[in-house]
Symmetry: C3
Subunit: 202 residues, 3 copies
Amino acid sequence: MSEILDLVGIFVFALSGALMGVRKRLDVVGMGVLAEMTALGGGVVRDLILNVRPAAFQSLGYVLVPVVATAIVFFWHPHVARVMPAILVLDAAGLGLFCAVGTEKALEYGLSPLHAALLGVTTGIGGGMLRDVLAGEIPTLLYDRQLYAVPAMLGSGAMAGLWAHGLYGWPATLAAAVLAFGLRLAAMRRNWRAPLARGIGE
Amino acid sequence: MSEILDLVGIFVFALSGALMGVRKRLDVVGMGVLAEMTALGGGVVRDLILNVRPAAFQSLGYVLVPVVATAIVFFWHPHVARVMPAILVLDAAGLGLFCAVGTEKALEYGLSPLHAALLGVTTGIGGGMLRDVLAGEIPTLLYDRQLYAVPAMLGSGAMAGLWAHGLYGWPATLAAAVLAFGLRLAAMRRNWRAPLARGIGE
Amino acid sequence: MSEILDLVGIFVFALSGALMGVRKRLDVVGMGVLAEMTALGGGVVRDLILNVRPAAFQSLGYVLVPVVATAIVFFWHPHVARVMPAILVLDAAGLGLFCAVGTEKALEYGLSPLHAALLGVTTGIGGGMLRDVLAGEIPTLLYDRQLYAVPAMLGSGAMAGLWAHGLYGWPATLAAAVLAFGLRLAAMRRNWRAPLARGIGE
């Protein structure tokens, strides 16, 4: 079941990568490469840090799902102008799913709850950061003052906390993912902001 | 013999990195750092994913060849204006060699043909992407509408296909490398292009 | 004792990352993420190449020190205008410490002195390059014509040389770190420059 949540996360991150390709006027191949990297980047980094062979290089689904996502965006995306909001919502969904699944996998490999949550955040933000850096932009994570990393931390922290209390399995993972996703959406809608250091001004 | 092809790939990628340094007006040290990273980046990522210690940190040649390439560019490059075409041709040669050698190494470590080809593409495009991102540019791979990733995929796929039919050794590796190199050159010369998604326009 | 030097390096790199966040007008969360990545990036790459689980995902101090550094910068940094010189000095200190500690760890894991020094340089420059790329800038390392990589190479080389002569322990590590730090500061103060290739002009 965790594999299914992981594949859903790969799918929505791949959509966000392919849409970023549309926004940057890349051709279908560039869209596909960006979709693969956005979708698989966070998980590959997670698995390298856990010192296991990355799942993306063992499973057929991990490689093919971004191809499908690219085809959908290529044939179906309605107007370029509507792309950016869709990228942000899909990115929020991928963030939530990858935080929860990444934290869970790290706990299974014996990391402490704190470090598992840190690796979950890394998994969640890795793909999107790679997408933005490759597209020549400062990562949304850093630039966007609407809270981005905080929902990731709370979702990963919730996953680690549930695990530490003996609650795990796909309902716990899904709950942590939905928590991070909902907080990120709320931060975007309600314009929640973290403070700036003194002397910068608004 | 595969080691020799690998070193040739390192040499041409290092030349492309050092020439990018010239184009960006970096000094000789910056040229050298960019040459090392362009030449060794793809292979290091490949070896990390295969979960073995990167060849670049075990072999003398891997470290010294980019130093030689940097010296050649430093003393010999004729005019800055002629640099960009040379970067593109050398990059195509490195792409072909790294795709073929990377796929071969992945097959030797037991990956399936599909995943070996994916890792070969990663090896081929990794160094050049790192070079472009560090130089503050969107990777050629994404931006250039003349086919870049498709030759890499076909070269890596050819290598995996030959292997699956019991054909391997340096002639097979070289053939796959030449295939990817030739396709990339033809794509540049004949301006072959992949389609854009609807609504972007030309 | 090496752990203490490593933590000092993490602290000063984290300060430089948080200050870069101030310069880019990031909020406190973005500052923290940039601080963590700057501080931990070089060491994570080092440990991935050594094929061991990264220290950052096993130790409490590695994760918390950047949080403390971010809080200090958030409450205390005096004026944005004074930020850039401080980034450069702290970056030089982190460079020296990470080169020395990274080379030492690589030697302990059995790399040859040459490759250990190369990995020390990688450790030293990795975090700062990540910081600059994420902040949307060409890495200082490449762009700044005042010597940057040369002090790193000499510091790492000194560490490897001392080790090869049976001299190790924290005084040797600290001496190598101070050598690289001092050379980098001198290069900035005295404007030491590496040559450009012909045809670029000054």
